[in-house]
């Protein structure tokens, strides 16, 4: 009897297991992307995280101009062409005709995209009295405000149904790149008004309607987001039929799902898994130079870092090649400028400080510190795209500096606290970094080294240099890219000479895919585009 029962149990277990055996990947033409988190919402104007942009503005919306995937070149999107007035203050966009909006159960668009939608999308953010400006407390147009758009744009006018004119308060060359950013996505005016008439104005922010390559289907909170290809997409229907974001917060689980075929592509692999991914015949690992920089900032308001010689000495005492090998495991390149080489205006003629302990010692003596000094060195408590291991890096730097008599005490705080304290100028020397939001050099120089950014806290070196500031401000007001590039090149020379930072490295980003994914191109600004991707038939 006993064995019979046991036998039945075993049989049953086997039967259950077989019946439930591994789930297939998905319906034909469905691409599953294992994303790293849930979007904060489905509105491109409210939020600032890459996770939300990947899920919202990238698949479902368009901007007037966009970045060509893989580069930071600005290409036409909802605007077919544009002209910039010679004074650099007026941008006129000619809009594309025949662009369709998506539809859903509550809304069927009666007209194509036109200038009214551009004005609506802009003034919803810019005008505090706009009927759709604000619904809930704490909801802000964060990026719009962070980019200081109110101080840049004076007014937006409709010239005719397919022409809009942006008048700026001052010449601002990076404006075009700003317009390619996610927050500048174009919404449907008709949809918002229809939802208000129905008495549910909020619905337009929850169930997105855009002009993008994919239409929203459904969202199961923290689990899946479903999209389908938009048949009438102005840029041509995507090759895949459905796109599914399978939200998987744990990087190990994402990798496991990629291996078992539960997803075709995954976000943010763990650096430790890269080697194994490379060897897996079922996977392909794409890589791209990151639009980023990792650095040590010296607080120039504090002794001894108010002395340029000290900053230069520590630059020379730091062995960057060793850091690149040990911390980045070779996946990146030594940084000599605050901007990465893939960004236009990168000044390759700048000579980096050589790793020279003797010279560093000499400079330190010249500065009045022949026996060195003691200093707190803050290191990153978290992994960031521009720095995989802050602690390891800090230990290497500590050992380097020790050689010239500088005793660094390693200090860190919880990540939010780290940033908060850095903004008050408490730091002496600290590790930090930046990932660019758009392809404009202005997006590195001004928020990280500009005088205004000392106040806002983004300039953690608290370095405000008149010649540098004049150059970058002038560059922002110069319309021609070639002329701007020259100014930025000069600015980089000043940064190197003044040494408010030790520029450490530009890291490489990785996107692991299954082999059947074809035509995927990594984006320069770290977004994930699936518009032109196809799935090969599996054998």
């Amino acid at each position: 009897m006993k064995t019979l029962v046991d036998g039945r149990l075993t049989l049953c277990a086997v039967a259950v297991m077989t019946a439930l055996c591994a789930a297939p990947v998905g319906a034909k033409g469905t691409l599953v992307y294992c994303s790293e988190g849930s979007p904060e919402g489905f509105q491109p104007q409210f939020f600032t995280t890459g996770t939300t942009f990947d899920a919202v503005s990238v698949p479902m919306f368009n901007r007037l101009v966009e970045f060509e995937t893989g580069t930071t070149n600005i290409v036409p999107a909802l605007a077919e062409s544009w002209t910039i007035a010679p004074d650099g203050k007026t941008f006129t966009f000619k809009l594309r005709k025949g662009v369709k909006f998506h539809s859903n159960a509550n809304f069927k668009p009666s007209r194509d995209f036109n200038a009214d939608d551009v004005l609506f999308s802009w003034y919803r953010m810019a005008d505090d009295n706009h009927p759709f400006h604000k619904f809930t407390a704490g909801q802000t147009f964060a990026y719009f405000e962070d980019m200081g758009m109110k101080n840049i744009v004076d007014k937006v006018e409709k010239v005719d149904d397919y022409t809009v004119r942006f008048s700026l308060k001052r010449p601002e060359a990076p404006f075009l790149a700003d317009m390619a950013m996610d927050f500048a996505s174009i919404l449907s005016k008709e949809y918002f008004e229809a939802m208000r008439t129905k008495g549910t104005p909020n619905a337009a922010d929850v169930y997105p309607i855009g002009t993008g390559p994919f239409e929203f289907v459904s969202y199961q909170k923290d689990a899946t987001i479903r999209y389908k290809a938009f048949d009438r997409y102005w840029g041509g229907r995507p090759k895949i039929d459905n796109l599914v974001f399978s939200i998987t917060r744990d990087a190990t689980a994402r990798y496991a799902k990629l291996k078992t075929g539960e997803c075709h592509a995954m976000a943010f692999p763990k650096p430790a898994d890269l080697d194994e991914m490379r060897k897996d015949p079922q996977l392909s690992l794409q890589q791209k130079e990151g639009l980023n920089v990792g650095y040590i900032a010296f607080n120039v308001e504090k002794k001894p870092f108010d002395n340029k010689l000290v900053r230069q000495a520590l630059n020379m005492a730091t062995n960057k090649e060793a850091i690149l090998k040990a911390v980045y495991q070779g996946q990146g390149q030594v940084a000599k400028n605050p901007i990465p080489p893939i960004l236009w205006s990168y000044n390759n003629a700048v000579q980096d400080y050589p790793y020279d302990v003797a010279k560093a010692k000499q400079l330190l003596a010249q500065a009045g510190y022949p026996n060195g000094f003691e200093v707190d060195l803050w290191y990153l408590p978290v992994t960031r795209p521009y720095n995989p291991d802050g602690k390891r890096m800090a230990e290497l730097i500590q050992a380097d500096w020790e050689k010239i008599g500088v005793k660094a005490k390693l200090v860190t705080y919880e990540w939010a606290e780290y940033r908060k304290r850095s903004k008050t100028g408490e730091q002496a020397a600290m590790m930090f970094g930046w990932s660019g939001d758009n392809g404009d050099p202005d997006n590195f120089f001004v928020p990280l080294l500009g005088c205004e950014a000392v106040k806002g806290g983004g300039n953690v070196a608290r370095w405000c240099n008149k010649s540098f500031e004049d150059l970058v401000l002038k560059a922002a007001q110069t319309p021609k890219q070639a002329d701007r590039a020259k100014l930025y090149e000069q600015a980089q020379v000043i940064v190197k000479e003044e040494a408010p930072w030790i520029t450490l490295a530009h890291s490489v980003r990785f996107d692991p895919l299954r082999k059947e994914v074809q035509g995927y191109k990594m984006d320069a600004t770290a977004h994930h585009y699936f518009t032109n991707v196809d799935l090969a038939k599996q054998p």
Binding site: M17, A19, L20, C21, A22, A23, P24, V25, G26, T30, V32, S38, E40, G41, T48, F135, T136, A137, G138, Q139, A142, D146, V217, Q220, K221, D222, A223, T224, R226, V244, S246, I247, T248, R249, D250, T252, A253, A256, K257, K259, T260, E262, Y413, E414, W415, A416, E417, R419, K420, K423, F432, G433, W434, S435, P447, A453, K455, G456, G457, G458
Partner: protein
């Protein structure tokens, strides 16, 4: 009995106050704040920072914030998430069924395996079976959940390919969330494939989450059974010549169950806290996963509201368990 329940209900009020205070204090003790979290590496204009702190009500002193929060809770309002701008109660309600579904199966698994294992160990005391059960349960109890979960994934999903890695259902099934319980919803949708997929997605998280309660139940059952088996009435029953299984099941087990039921009740709290790790690893869209993210983004209303609701449920379950004693053993009556 009625008086007992009343007394227990009265005790709930200070417990709740304590929970709100604790949740409030803990989340505010963590460095950083939600506004800081919004700004990232980019600096934030101090005026804008002030304005946001004011809008979130974070520019007031902590005691004022606490009193206003308790007042809000008493009016039945748990606030709005600072990241998604959605109602905390609504988000909880959306996600809670997933957590319940997982906890239910984990508990079922723990009882279904733990109870017989404990009985077996007691009846076969000091034999190989006993040592095996106790050894395994000690191992299970000491295993960190996240590590155990990853081992399960690597072995069953990646190596053997038997079970899916994570999630609640395969992506090709778009089951409308009517009840929020995936098994029920997929049955309602009338799709056998979806139901099978949902069931297969439950296996690994159930084992990962159920392991510790299983170990606790097995050990508790064993020691409780051993105690009861030594009692005179059990000896008397045996002496009467009753079959062995009848003595064990009817005479011994029923009495041995009382401490076990208490332990099972306590496991509910453990299951909900264990769910935080299990859900994160298995991408299980429940409240545990949601709370972790709330803590990371310093979403104060989410963390406070989530803890409060979970505490309420744990308290309610324990109250039910206490009253269940009387049902299991008529000798115990709360007078």
């Amino acid at each position: 009995m009625f008086g007992f329940i009343l007394r227990r209900v009265a005790l709930i009020i200070p417990t709740f106050l304590g929970v709100t205070l604790l949740a409030f204090a803990l989340i505010h003790l963590i460095p950083g704040d939600p506004v800081e979290n919004l700004s990232g590496e980019r600096g934030m204009d101090p005026a804008r920072r002030e304005r946001l702190l004011h809008e979130f009500g974070l520019d007031r002193s902590l005691p004022v914030q606490y009193v206003s929060y308790v007042g809000q809770v008493l009016r039945g309002d748990l606030g709005t998430s600072l990241t998604t701008h959605e109602s905390v109660a609504q988000e909880f309600a959306t996600l809670f069924p997933a957590t319940v579904e997982l906890a239910f199966f984990a508990l079922l698994f723990a009882i279904a395996v733990g109870l017989p294992a404990g009985i077996l160990a007691a009846v076969k005391r000091n034999t190989f079976a006993d040592y095996t059960v106790m050894g395994l349960s000690l191992t299970g109890y000491s295993m960190p959940i996240f590590w155990w979960a990853l081992l399960l994934i690597l072995f069953f999903s990646v190596y053997l390919g038997w079970t899916p890695v994570s999630g609640r259902i395969a992506v090709q099934y778009d089951v409308p969330a009517a009840t929020g319980f995936m098994l029920i919803d997929s049955l309602r949708a009338g799709d056998a494939g979806a139901f099978r997929s949902a069931l297969s997605h439950l296996i690994l998280p159930t084992i990962a989450l159920g392991t510790i309660p299983l170990a606790v139940i097995a050990r508790m059952t064993r020691s409780s059974m051993l105690e009861v088996l030594r009692e005179d009435y059990v000896r008397a029953a045996r002496a009467k010549g009753l079959p062995r299984w009848r003595v064990i099941v009817v005479h011994a087990l029923r009495n041995a169950l009382i401490p076990v039921v208490t332990v099972v009740g306590l496991q509910v709290g453990l299951l909900l806290s264990g769910a935080i790790l299990t859900e994160t690893i298995f991408s299980w869209p429940g409240v545990g996963n949601w709370l972790v993210h709330g803590v990371q983004s310093r979403d104060y209303p989410v963390v406070q509201g989530g803890i409060l609701l979970i505490a309420a449920i744990v308290i309610a379950v324990n109250l039910i368990v206490d009253t269940l004693y009387g049902v299991i053993n008529p000798r115990i009556r709360h007078g």
